[in-house]
């Protein structure tokens, strides 16, 4: 997929003139950089890529790129992106968002996006907190994390997105770390190239509301095992690891869902008529 024609596209060609407003130290800067580098290395021109997002700090990414972008409704990025990919299978479609947007508000869409297995790549920047709204616990927050907004902790078991993605039918599951931009770039390239629904969960520290996450760099490590296509083996891995193993953790060859394009079963006028009141 590498473009042969000169001049080569460079990562900077994917960055828009809008400067990110994330807090300095935020892992999302690194993810933005990794997305631009991945697309550049693959030679996907900005006009051939679309980035769809929901709401949250990380969901600002479309504005910071020169690709087509849609900054959508909270938790609804996935169905929007699936519709786009089905209508325009020629586009490289990425979805970007955070743990709150994707696993809570959009939790149901997440499950069914995995099940539908449309050829899109979902990049979740997981910081285990709602940063934009000032630090409420998110679905992936540890039960004992204490803050001004959760003075006794949540006491709730965290959501296990990778295990749930596996059970729901995702075709490619990986975990990255924003502190490893080159490793993240490689994961994104693999995920985009892999047919079907790819989930790339990226541990991306929120240094403002979870400053202790700066320590992640000391505990994140490459998964000690090779990627597997065996669901049983992957399930054991994903449900027993501590959440800090990085790399490709599951890769299946299930054919993606892609209905025929351009064959409408009914005219738009007929559909409109059905909804007339």
């Amino acid at each position: 997929m590498k473009a042969d024609a000169a001049p080569k596209i460079q990562a900077k060609d994917y960055k828009s003139d809008i400067k990110p407003v994330w807090c300095p130290g935020c892992g999302d800067y690194s993810v933005l950089s990794a997305i631009t580098k991945a697309l550049a290395e693959m030679g996907v021109a900005p006009e051939n890529a679309a980035i769809v997002s929901g709401i949250g700090c990380s969901s600002r990414i479309p504005a910071y790129t020169t690709c087509y972008g849609f900054h959508g409704v909270h938790g609804r990025a996935l169905p929007l992106a699936i519709g786009l990919k089905i209508a325009r299978p020629d586009l490289t479609v990425l979805v970007a968002g955070g743990d709150g947007d994707g696993y809570s508000i959009g939790g149901n869409h997440f499950i069914h996006a995995c099940r539908r297995n449309v050829d899109i790549t979902y990049v979740v920047m997981d910081n285990q907190v709602y940063g934009m709204t000032k630090g409420q616990p998110s679905p992936t927050t540890e039960p004992e994390w204490v803050s001004a907004l959760a003075p006794s902790g949540t006491g709730l078991r965290p959501f296990r997105p990778l295990g749930i993605a596996l059970a729901a039918g995702a075709n490619f599951i990986a975990r990255g770390f924003s502190g490893d931009p080159k490793g993240t770039t490689k994961l994104l390239i693999e995920a985009i190239r892999h047919p079907g629904f790819s989930l790339v969960e990226i541990l991306s520290p929120c240094v403002t509301y979870r400053p202790e996450q700066r320590e992640w760099k000391k505990i994140v490590r490459p998964a000690p095992v090779e990627p597997t296509s065996d669901q049983g083996r992957a399930a054991k891995r994903l449900l027993t690891d501590d959440g800090f193993n990085t790399g490709i953790l599951f890769r299946s060859d299930t054919a993606p869902y892609q209905p025929p394009v351009g064959k409408q079963s009914a005219s738009l006028a007929a559909i409109e008529k059905e909804f007339a009141v």
Binding site: P24, M132, G179, D180, T208
Partner: protein
């Protein structure tokens, strides 16, 4: 937030390991030039990004400092570019460093929106020291005289930067604990 944010270098400095992994990839003077060019270019790119971040957060003093550091590194990049055939450079080549990023690149998570020039200079000096140590180690292990001489020159350049930043640092004493306390942390609504 309570206590001060651990802003600053947070990565190991095991240059022996670094050299063990990278020295094998440096077979010629051009190999080292190419590696140095990529290393310095990444440093410039990061300094520019960090300057932008600080500017957005109205930390103009540190923004200007990062911009100044970017300019200094850019001169180094330009010098190296003059000795290289850039058309042959593979922009996607994967260089191995001890850290996920190159020795002279500040990690994204090592900064804070309330950081002071003191913090920025400590980070910058640390990176220059890492770069110097890297080149010195390459020089010590080089089997080619060309590589050894160039590595020594590059190490001397980095030493100059270490000294320069050290002098600047004397103007900016370490702030007291609590410098990062903010009763109203950033809120960037849609």
């Amino acid at each position: 937030m309570t206590g001060s944010t651990p802003v600053g270098p947070g990565h190991p400095d095991d240059h022996e390991d670094l050299v063990d992994r990278v020295v094998a990839a440096i077979a010629s003077r051009d190999d080292l030039l190419e590696m140095a060019y990529v290393m310095e270019s990444e440093a410039v790119e990061r300094y520019v990004e960090l300057a932008d971040q600080m500017e957005v957060h109205n930390n103009t003093e540190v923004a200007e400092l990062f911009a100044k550091l970017a300019e200094i590194e850019r001169k180094h990049v330009d010098q190296l570019a003059g000795k290289l055939d850039l058309s042959k450079l593979d922009q996607f080549k994967d260089y191995r460093w001890i850290d996920p990023e190159a020795p002279e690149t500040i990690n994204f998570e090592d900064v804070h929106y309330l950081m002071t020039p003191h913090h920025a200079l400590v980070l910058a000096r640390h990176n220059e020291q890492r770069a110097e140590a890297f080149y010195r180690a390459v020089a010590e292990r080089a089997t080619s005289e060309d590589v050894r001489v160039l590595a020594q020159e590059l190490a001397d350049d980095e030493r100059e930067h270490v000294v320069l930043i050290g002098k600047w640092l004397q103007q900016f004493p370490e702030p007291e604990e609590g410098w990062d306390e903010d009763p109203d942390p950033p809120h960037m609504p849609e």
